[in-house]
């Protein structure tokens, strides 16, 4: 999909749908990022206006207007440059992310589990982020939140931000599948070892930029294997980002021609990945 095509999918309210229909936060944030990378400011500004207009009083974003709850999409919005969101809007969103954890990490839940005599597994030591408040932490939203906070840390390094990033990265390392890479979040589920998924493996690696360890190396090896066989646009986008984060992207790689970029996030992320390859880094800042 070209920039023109992406612009043509923009709704009249300034936001983007996933494919068609009403505007959603996630596709709009990725579309704006892609447009900013391409210098397409007019359409990007309309998208930013829409995003700013739907921030909730608690500082987070709903996935879609009409949804009365802030969710994981807040971290996607925080990938947008602070100067375009506005300092106040950005600061409240950072606070929302810093104040959100998986339910298993909350004090109330831990007390309850202790009273019930349930053993505390090592995988719940480090708080990650949930898709929706009130649920457990998972790899996807944790990776996105780390990316959002890393961007803020480059601007303003505070102990609370650094602590949550480190906790999140420990969360990811503790949830890695036995052979490397990530499933949604469990190393072992229901009596079997979880197998890694390409998309979550790419996300995990992207969020562990700057971290080197044998575990990360094994995840890189899994990601490279996925890259050679995967035909899903979403997965390939994240695999490429993840491998770029560790300088492990195979030289001269081109996505297979049969890969279908069907949704706005797939298309926008694909553009962003291409832009990062030529030094327009809007993901890590």
């Amino acid at each position: 999909m070209s920039i023109e095509s992406l612009v043509s999918k923009q709704n009249r309210d300034g936001g983007w749908p996933y494919v068609k229909g009403r505007s959603w936060t996630e596709p709009t944030a990725y579309a704006v990022l892609a447009l900013l990378a391409e210098g397409e400011m007019e359409s990007a500004k309309r998208g930013l206006d829409w995003i700013r207009s739907i921030q909730r009083p608690d500082g987070g974003w709903p996935p879609q207007t009409g949804v009365d709850e802030s969710t994981w999409v807040t971290s996607v919005v925080l990938l947008l440059p602070r100067q375009f969101l506005g300092p106040s809007i950005h600061a409240r969103a950072i606070d929302w992310v810093l104040g959100t954890t998986g339910k298993e990490s909350t004090i109330l839940y831990r007390i309850r589990e202790r009273l019930l005599g349930n053993p505390r597994g090592p995988e719940v030591e480090f708080p990650g982020w949930p898709w929706v408040p009130g649920a457990a932490a998972w790899v996807g939203p944790t990776a996105l939140s780390i990316l959002a906070l890393e961007k803020e840390r480059l601007r303003k390094d505070t102990p609370s931000i650094r602590k949550r990033i480190e906790q999140g990265q420990h969360f990811l390392l503790s949830r890695m599948c036995v052979g490397g890479g990530w499933n949604h979040g469990s190393v072992r589920a229901l009596g079997y070892e979880s197998r890694p998924y390409p998309e979550t493996t790419g996300m995990g690696l992207a969020a562990l930029r700057g971290v080197s360890s044998p575990k990360v190396e094994s995840a890189v090896a899994v990601a490279r294997e996925f890259l050679s066989e995967c035909r899903s646009a979403d997965a390939l986008n994240w695999l490429r980002l993840g491998l770029m984060a560790h300088g492990q992207m195979p030289a001269g790689y081109c996505p297979p021609p049969e890969v279908a970029y069907r949704t706005v996030p797939e298309t926008s992320l694909g553009m962003l990945v291409a832009a990062i390859e030529i030094q327009h880094n809007l993901i890590w800042g």
């Binding site: 996935p63 879609q64 009365d68 929706v132 457990a136 998972w138 229901l190 899903s232």
Partner: protein, 326 residues
């Protein structure tokens, strides 16, 4: 939509209801209406399924002329060789049957709980190959526009439930499930398949909020949220043991269908030799009429349960759900 009973069926239903009331020692008058459930021997995924599905829908007198139908298969993982996903041939046969019966629109929709790339998943499961123009007919329920719903009856602790417009606005929602065991709920059939209507665009991958709010209860909530349903279970090859993902393929050679998902799922449980009264969501959905689950209150069409029953290996942690031989 009407599902008319013949005089003979009314008599059978009335007799069954009276019998059930005596058996359960019920003292108050509970109006029971027998639900029709078809059990059809179907040995393999072949062209014969097209005739079978047309015949099944005609038997149930599903009047769908001029109305919209949404077919909801079960797509879980990229494992085309396994028995994890609803077979695309069955979905296409159902699609063609509803079209032949005069539906104004038939679409296929799913919102997988594990993988974001729904169309890639459908492609790997063979849907693009089997269903002509599949992409034009398909709706990704994870990314569809949503509205908040207020179920008439709520069982779970979910504070807010948002559901996709394509599912809410369909005149008939057809859950086309796979006959599988489930490590938490015992069995996953047409009712559990409705988890795929919950939009991951809101709740994430996986839809973990449903687990925290109570899986059984959320299944019952979803059942209540969609009043116009038809259920079909792909039991040609199901999955036993540690389902719904890590289990083992199980050839049963049946299709099960009906307009009452509770009755369809209870019948499937009996075929799998699982006690439907030990399946929490079936108990919840049958509510004040637990006799609704009674075999006597389900009017079987086609094969009898005993002739097709095939005990499924149970999930390791749920040995107690086995249906005792009477």
């Amino acid at each position: 939509m009407s599902t008319e009973f013949t005089r003979r069926e009314w008599l059978a239903a009335t007799a069954a209801a009276a019998g059930a009331a005596v058996l359960t020692g019920c003292t108050r008058q509970v109006p029971l209406q027998s639900s029709k459930v078809s059990i059809v021997r179907t040995a393999a995924y072949d062209q014969g399924i097209y005739d079978t599905m047309r015949r099944v829908l005609e038997e149930h007198q599903v009047d769908i002329r001029g109305r919209s139908v949404l077919l909801k298969p079960n797509l879980v993982e990229f494992e085309p060789e396994s028995s994890i996903n609803t077979n695309p041939l069955l979905v296409h046969a159902t699609f063609e049957a509803f079209r032949a019966m005069g539906a104004s629109q038939v679409r296929i929709a799913e919102g997988p709980g594990h993988r974001r790339n729904t169309l890639d998943l459908a492609d790997a499961a063979g849907y693009f190959k089997i269903v002509p123009h599949f992409e034009d007919l398909f709706v990704d329920l994870n990314l569809d526009d949503v509205s908040r719903i207020h179920p008439t009856r709520q069982f779970s602790r979910l504070e807010k439930l948002y559901l996709p417009h394509s599912a809410l606005n369909a005149d008939l929602l057809v859950s086309i499930a796979k006959m599988k065991t489930h490590h938490w709920t015992g069995a996953t059939l047409t009712m559990k398949n409705l988890f795929g209507t919950v939009p991951s665009g809101i709740y994430g991958w996986p839809k973990n909020v449903l687990h925290w709010a109570g899986i059984e209860e959320c299944i019952a909530d979803l059942h209540a949220a969609f009043p116009r349903q038809f259920g079909i279970v792909d039991g040609i090859v199901g999955m036993e043991g540690n389902g719904p993902i890590q289990g083992v393929a199980k050839h049963v050679g049946v299709l099960v269908a009906g307009s009452d998902p509770v009755a369809v799922d209870a019948t499937c449980c009996r075929i799998m030799r699982i006690d439907p009264y030990k399946i929490g969501y079936l108990r919840l959905a049958s509510g004040e009429m637990p006799t609704r689950l009674s075999e006597a209150n389900i009017h079987q069409i086609g094969e009898g349960i005993a002739t097709v029953a095939s005990p499924f290996d149970l999930p390791p942690d749920l040995p107690g759900i086995r249906l005792e031989e009477s």
